[in-house]
Symmetry: C2
Subunit: 147 residues, 2 copies
């Protein structure tokens, strides 16, 4: 497919409510998991997402990456070492989702039986510090890329 135009682009909103805007960009079964893996596990390539996922289909992954780029949440840059590779990186807008992810993790951890208690402990111990730390790490990657 890869339509250049037409295709309704999905940028019209059902309403002006900010929550609705978030839901329209992130309200599906995969987008936030992709962002999680970029933010917390440092994933950058298509292959990493494919291998380590809860089992996403190739076409769905491609579609979600495209939409996240369209929304300005992530960006794609060619790998300087390997011409076949594309590196996906979080934009500032994407990084700003850290508090959303954090609250979703804490909510689920508080009400469901879940794993990754190590991460949950970190968040619970000092949420502000946790957020500052992952942001600082992101700022460093930005600096390294000469942004």
């Amino acid at each position: 497919m890869t339509k250049k135009s037409g295709k309704k682009s999905g940028l019209e909103r059902r309403s002006g409510c900010p929550l609705n805007a978030s839901v329209e960009m992130l309200g599906d079964r995969w987008s936030l998991l992709i962002i999680r893996d970029m933010m917390l596990r440092g994933f950058r390539s298509y292959k990493e997402f494919m291998e380590c996922y809860e089992g996403i289909a190739t076409n769905i992954l491609a579609d979600r990456l495209r939409k996240l780029i369209e929304y300005g949440i992530i960006a794609a840059e060619p790998d300087p070492q390997d011409g076949r590779k594309v590196n996906y990186v979080l934009t500032r807008k994407g990084m700003d989702l850290a508090p959303v992810l954090t609250e979703m993790v804490l909510w689920a951890a508080g009400h469901e039986e879940t794993g990754n208690q190590q991460l949950v402990q970190l968040m619970r111990a000092d949420k502000t510090k946790f957020l500052a730390d992952i942001r600082a790490r992101w700022e460093r990657t930005q600096a390294a890329a000469g942004k």
Copy 2:
């Protein structure tokens, strides 16, 4: 309609990650909007959800309400005044989603053109107070119901 059994129940998880748990319960285009309207606008009945929505279909609304009940996020109680009505109320688990909704609103408001700036101002001015206030209001409804 209140299935006794069968129907796979959707309680098996793709992974133990707490974010995945949240996404599996809330990652669709409607659930969080229903919760928003219960939390912030005081909606309680099927009809209110239908009329005031971004345009949800009847079968989808019924399905989402059923799932939210299944997850323990909301509860249904018959209206004492009108035998036709059902009142949907947030459980504590549902109320605990307030920080998630707040962060999603703030994120969208910070990065997109959105409406309801009044709500956004309230959240920005003092997030802690905002959360305390809506929780206090919920506690009062619980007390009123003799819980």
